[in-house]
């Protein structure tokens, strides 16, 4: 039976071979994308594994024995360890301060030994950055001299910026946050390391993979419909001469398996050929190390065995839906026409997001996550569920009113089977929705944090926080009793520094244990605050004002950047004697000035963590990765959707080649048939793209309104260019079917068809 099936497949005529070729190409495309996704997941996991040692001493690092500063441990501890994250411009530097207490101190992979006091090891990328940057902007932050470079086994990526600085145990043991460790962590924490958040990256990748694979699966499904009528005739003929239903099912399954095996082979070939290019392409924004972008045996086995098995199963299920009798297709289950109730999930999702936009978002973080996840899920699923109804409604309107034959035929065809029409573009819905949401949200956030008038001020303002913990009553504990005058003078003497504001503790403020440190109350001199406007301004006439440390919030939006802080009953003289919670440095915004100020602060207040720019753009890296990923997804999925449409069009033409060719014989110009084809495919594509993008922007606008109190800003030109390029690509693919139209509607079809 198998040999007969193979022979039938190989000798089933030109149309069957074309169908096989297109289906094989679709499977190859899907397999190629699956392989790229798996390799990218492996790469992210490999990168993540190499960040494990940076988690040493962090909460959750069970491999390390640790004790925070102040606790006395009777046993000797071999190393003091302090991890922090530093910044240089938009770059993130992972910094480990370490002090070996003896020769048995644990040594991370990639280092020959722990750096001694006054030594440091750096990653090759950081070594290059140190060489190319003025020491006052970067080098002076790190005490000591370069002892060597960190090996690649300790680097998540070739471009990772990492430094390990050596100290004497007595020095580092006094640093807030330093812990004693006896071993190096081997299990990544999975979060907390800026720039290497694999959970976020894998989530983005998962969404991207889904958004890509969905159209590919649709493409494969559409391709299998090409020439299905001829296949059904063939199977009916077999049934007529005595083949059982099971045997015809085997024939169909074998044909699918042949396609799948061919697709798997070509897909692997594509992956191998494109491997060097893909390895250097940075999907997540982090350049991959050699060998990271690879497949393991389980991946290969999954694809090699899974795809043909899935194809055979799909063919078997398909044969259950279409029962082949000796006289042809006896039963094909066709769903009834879609109803208006399909709009309900979409409207419910928009309603839910709209409710929170009007009534305000839930108070708790988990409540917000649940609310927005549900809202976005309902909208996205709602688009897919409502799609066929929208298609049938629109096409009925078009067909019911037009006097143009092309619009009439196209509209009737769409209304006849909206499922098929929508299936070809269903993947596009998801991709465009995700793209529009991410474009809407990231554009607005980036615009509000980076380009508004106050945002500019915020982006040039550094904040260095000194809180080391809190007292039993909830008061903030700080390591800095006062800012020496020499430090203030040194900072203000840097060209480009506009002012320095010192925020002191507020002894009269009522606090509660566990209060968020950003909400900690403080006091500030209004004269100083006037020099750092990004942190807000004092009430008129006040000399000292109450302030909270949530300064980044004050500078992130136009409404909050002009925050007015209430006056406090405190004299300036008493204020100067209070411990210091934070130092704010206002600059002219030049990156060199910011980095010089940051370097000076780090040198003046070591171990207390690096100062951060108020409107930090580091946190936007996840959005940028999302944006980059969705750019790739939208272009690829638009093109795949175009391929699906082209195959769908070809399948539709094959089904109607006789009436179409007779129409042409009867004088209908080829242009009319081309218009039919174009309308059938391009109209749903454009309409769905518009609805999907519009819904995406509406959902992101509602989210921005409720969560951030901001209005949606239009996305940048890149978004429109990508969408336009994708649509044009799809139209080009559709246009490629036009020669086919001429070929299959020739006089011979009418004579022989």
């Amino acid at each position: 039976m198998i040999r007969l099936s193979v022979r039938l497949t190989a000798s089933s005529g030109k149309q069957a071979l074309i169908r096989l070729a297109i289906t094989t190409a679709a499977v190859a495309l899907g397999v190629g994308m699956l392989l790229v996704t798996l390799a990218e997941i492996n790469a992210i996991n490999a990168q993540d594994a190499r960040t494990a040692w940076l988690s040493t001493g962090m909460p959750g690092d069970v491999a390390s024995s640790q004790s925070p500063v102040g606790s006395k441990s009777p046993a000797a501890r071999p190393a003091w360890w302090l991890f922090s994250t530093d910044y240089f411009g938009h770059l993130i530097i992972d910094r480990v301060d370490v002090a070996a207490t003896g020769p048995g101190a644990p040594v991370p992979r990639g280092l020959p030994h722990l750096p001694g006091p006054g030594q440091f090891y750096v990653s090759p990328a950081l070594a290059r950055l140190l060489r190319s940057s003025p020491p006052a902007e970067l080098g002076h932050r790190f005490p000591g001299h370069l002892a060597g470079t960190i090996g690649s086994s300790a680097l998540p990526a070739p471009d990772s910026l990492i430094i390990v600085v050596g100290y004497r145990p007595g020095q580092l043991s006094r640093a807030p946050g330093a812990v004693e460790v006896t071993s190096i962590a081997t299990t990544p924490r999975g979060n907390g390391l800026p720039g290497y958040d694999p959970t976020t990256l894998l989530s983005i990748l998962a969404v991207a993979a889904l958004a890509l694979l969905f159209p590919v699966l649709i493409f494969i499904g559409t391709a299998t419909r090409l020439g299905a009528a001829r296949q059904e005739q063939r199977l009916a003929a077999m049934r007529l001469v005595g083949a059982t239903a099971r045997q015809t099912s085997v024939v169909a399954a074998i044909e699918s398996c042949i396609t799948a095996v061919g697709g798997v082979v070509i897909g692997f070939g594509l992956f191998i050929v494109l491997h060097p290019v893909l390895q250097d392409a940075s999907f997540t924004g982090v350049r991959l190390a050699r060998g990271d972008f690879s497949l393991d045996l389980a991946d290969i086995l999954l694809i090699v065995a899974g795809i043909p098995a899935a194809a055979a199963a799909a063919a078997h299920l398909g044969m259950r839906r279409v029962r082949i009798s000796p006289l042809g297709v006896a039963r094909r289950t066709m769903p009834s026409a879609p109803r208006a109730y399909r709009m309900f999930p979409l409207l419910a999702g928009i309603g839910e997001l709209g409710y929170f936009a009007i009534a305000g978002h839930p108070r708790s973080s988990s409540g917000q996550i649940e609310a927005y996840f549900l809202g976005f899920f309902l909208v996205m699923a709602g688009l897919v569920i409502a799609g066929p109804w929208l298609t049938v409604t629109g096409s009925r309107i078009m067909a019911g009113r037009t006097s143009r034959p092309a619009a009439l035929i196209a509209g009737r065809r769409l209304a006849d089977n909206p499922w098929a029409a929508f299936r070809a573009i269903g993947g596009l819905i998801v991709a465009l929705f995700v793209t529009s949401v991410s474009a809407g949200i990231t554009t607005t956030i980036i615009a509000d944090r980076g380009s508004s008038a106050n945002g500019v001020a915020g982006s040039g303002t550094l904040a260095d926080q000194f809180i080391t913990g809190e007292s039993v009553s909830g008061k903030a504990l700080t390591a800095v009793a006062a800012v020496p005058a020499a430090v203030l003078t040194g900072l203000t003497s840097i060209p480009g520094i506009r002012g320095v504001t010192v925020i002191h503790t507020n002894p009269d403020a009522v606090t509660s244990p566990g209060q968020n440190e950003n909400d900690m109350p403080g006091l500030v001199s209004c004269a100083q605050l006037a020099l750092t406007p990004a942190a807000g301004r004092c009430a008129r006439g006040a000399a000292v004002a109450s302030i909270t440390l949530d300064l980044s919030g004050a500078a992130t939006s136009g409404s909050q950047s002009t925050t007015e802080w209430h006056g406090a009953a405190m004299s300036l003289q008493r204020l100067q004697r209070l411990p210091v919670l934070m130092v704010i440095v206002g600059t002219d915004g030049a990156s060199a000035v910011i980095e010089r100020a940051r370097t000076a602060l780090e040198a003046d207040f070591p171990y207390l963590g690096p100062p951060a720019v108020l409107t930090t753009s580091y946190s936007l890296s996840a959005y940028a990765a999302l944006q980059r990923m969705t750019d790739v997804v939208i272009v690829a999925s638009l093109v795949i959707a175009g391929c699906s449409l082209a195959v769908s069009v070809a399948a539709g033409l094959a089904d109607r080649q006789r009436p179409f060719s007779l129409l042409r014989l009867a004088g209908a110009p080829l242009g009319l048939l081309r218009r039919v084809v174009a309308l059938e495919s391009a109209v749903p594509l454009v309409v769905v793209a518009a609805i999907s993008a519009g819904t995406g922007f509406l959902a992101s606008a509602l989210f921005l309104r409720s969560e951030l109190g901001e209005s949606l800003r239009p996305p940048g030109g890149a978004y429109y260019i990508i969408v336009l390029a994708g649509l044009l690509g799809s139209f080009a693919v559709i246009g490629c079917t036009f020669p086919l139209l001429k070929w299959i509607t020739g006089p011979e079809i009418a004579r022989n068809g």
Partner: protein, 246 residues
């Protein structure tokens, strides 16, 4: 006066001046690869005449019809319509001729499956630029004439073979063509349904003065014609007419 009316008037004038001959084939030769289909076929059809082209399978009768209708271009020989030579005319001109002055009925599968029966009938009118409302109104008149009342909204899959063929006939005649080319119009029907279709076809054609070129191998169908010719081995022979028209 519409473009269609002008063309029709010109056509009728030309037909009268040419002694009533509307369509003429002269020494047509046409091969498909190495297989000759026509080997010097000649034929003329008068205005308003119903001509039956008969012959066994593979004799070349369908090829002759396609050449007369400008669908196929002969390898040699001439095809004249309305005093104009059409075998040398460009494809676009022949397409326009087929759309404006010819009608077609084939054996099966000619209805666009997604359209309703009335939309299928109205299609030639819509192609000619007539507004939808008028086109559908004109189309509906044919349903009454062809005993298809109540079938207007049905799709091709919901019609019997005879009904579908009558819808196709209505579509072929709705634009009032000068010539109706019918290739085995009853070939897929039983004898009763076939006779019904032929009665309606001949009656409608005579009523509006449409010339009909009818290809068939069925003598009972050919009996509805004014004249019969037989195609054998790619050549046309006239056939002496016996009995009266049914």
């Amino acid at each position: 006066m519409t473009r269609r009316a002008v063309v029709r008037a010109r056509s009728q004038a030309a037909a009268s001046s040419a002694g009533g001959c509307v369509v003429e084939a002269r020494d047509l030769v046409r091969s498909f690869g190495q297989t000759p289909a026509l080997r010097g076929a000649s034929l003329s059809v008068s205005a308003g005449e119903i001509l039956a082209v008969m012959g066994p399978s593979g004799s070349g009768k369908s090829t002759l019809l396609h050449c007369l209708a400008g669908i196929l271009v002969p390898d040699s020989g001439e095809v004249w319509f309305d005093g104009r030579r059409i075998d040398t005319a460009p494809d676009a001109e022949r397409s326009m001729l087929r759309r404006d002055q010819f009608g077609f009925v084939f054996q099966f599968g000619q209805l666009v499956p997604e359209l309703t029966a009335e939309e299928n009938v109205a299609l030639p009118l819509l192609l000619g630029g007539i507004r939808r409302t008028k086109a559908l109104a004109d189309a509906r008149q044919w349903f009454r004439r062809l005993d298809l009342d109540g079938m207007e909204r049905r799709r091709s899959g919901e019609l019997s073979g005879g009904q579908a063929q009558r819808v196709a006939l209505a579509r072929g005649l709705v634009a009032r063509p000068d010539v109706l080319f019918a290739d085995e119009p009853t070939g897929s029907l039983d004898s009763l349904a076939g006779e019904h279709v032929m009665e309606l076809l001949s009656a409608a054609a005579r009523e509006q003065g449409t010339t009909v070129v009818l290809v068939t191998h069925d003598a009972r169908v050919a009996a509805y014609a004014d004249r019969e010719v037989i195609v054998r081995d790619g050549r046309v022979n006239s056939l002496a007419r016996g009995g009266a028209r049914p």
